[in-house]
Amino acid sequence: MDTRERPLSPHLQVYKPQLTSTLSIMHRMTGVALAVGTLLLVWWLVAASLGGEAFTTIQTIIGSWFGRLILFGWTFALFYHLCNGIRHLFWDMGKGLDLPSAYRSGWIVIAAAIVLTVSGWVCGYHSMGAL
């Protein structure tokens, strides 16, 4: 059968970006980002098991401004994905699927992710004695 002339469903870019669609694609992007971030976690564990220079190296890298930026991004990605993941689990139970609820839970997820990220970093700087 000739498939070339079949009608295609509208491409995503013809839709106006909405909170719901933006948060949806962000769940996927943070999932992929977290997957890349696991490399850092494995590196850190291996360095801790080797001790000595291996650990000093990763600590210097993570401690640099660039390392902290990456780690900050990873923490936000984690908290966003975690909170939105819980939103997904409620949907899986059939709860909160109507439009007003989806918007409300969306805003809650954004707020919770920001609060958790900032709290985590305040806690981290506090342990370092910087606060």
Partner: protein, 126 residues
């Protein structure tokens, strides 16, 4: 009227041919990861700036070792299931799709094994 064949109904696996196993494992690991990741981040924040001795002492604590092992297993299982779906959605060349999925699964297992070895080494050999 159902268009499904008798054999299809008995197998009950649907068009994806794997039933709900993949979906269910993704949810189970997600539920497990909520407390595990919160626990991890709190503890890493407390370890900020700590030297290697303090980090090793934390990992060697039996409760930490077990929770870290559970976290690693859940993370890499969940990650591998999630990335498989992403690949299936965007990679449409059959051989490339298959190769990418295999690469992701092998990488997940290798990274998990490496992490578990590092944790156990610190726990048992110091």
């Amino acid at each position: 009227m159902s268009l499904r064949t008798d054999l299809g109904k008995i197998r009950g696996l649907g068009s994806a041919k794997e039933g709900v196993a993949h979906w269910w494992a993704q949810r189970l690991t997600a539920i497990a990861l909520v407390p595990l990741m919160l626990w991890l981040v709190i503890n890493i924040a407390h370890l900020a700036g700590a030297d290697v001795k303090a980090v090793q002492a934390w990992i060697a604590n039996p409760v930490t070792s077990v929770l870290l092992i559970l976290m690693i297993v859940a993370v890499f299982h969940h990650m591998q299931l999630g990335l498989q779906v992403v690949i299936e959605d965007y990679v449409h060349t059959e051989w490339l799709k298959l190769a990418s999925i295999i690469a992701v699964k092998f990488a997940a297992i290798a990274l998990a094994a490496t992490s578990l070895f590092a944790i156990l080494k610190i726990a048992f050999a110091g």
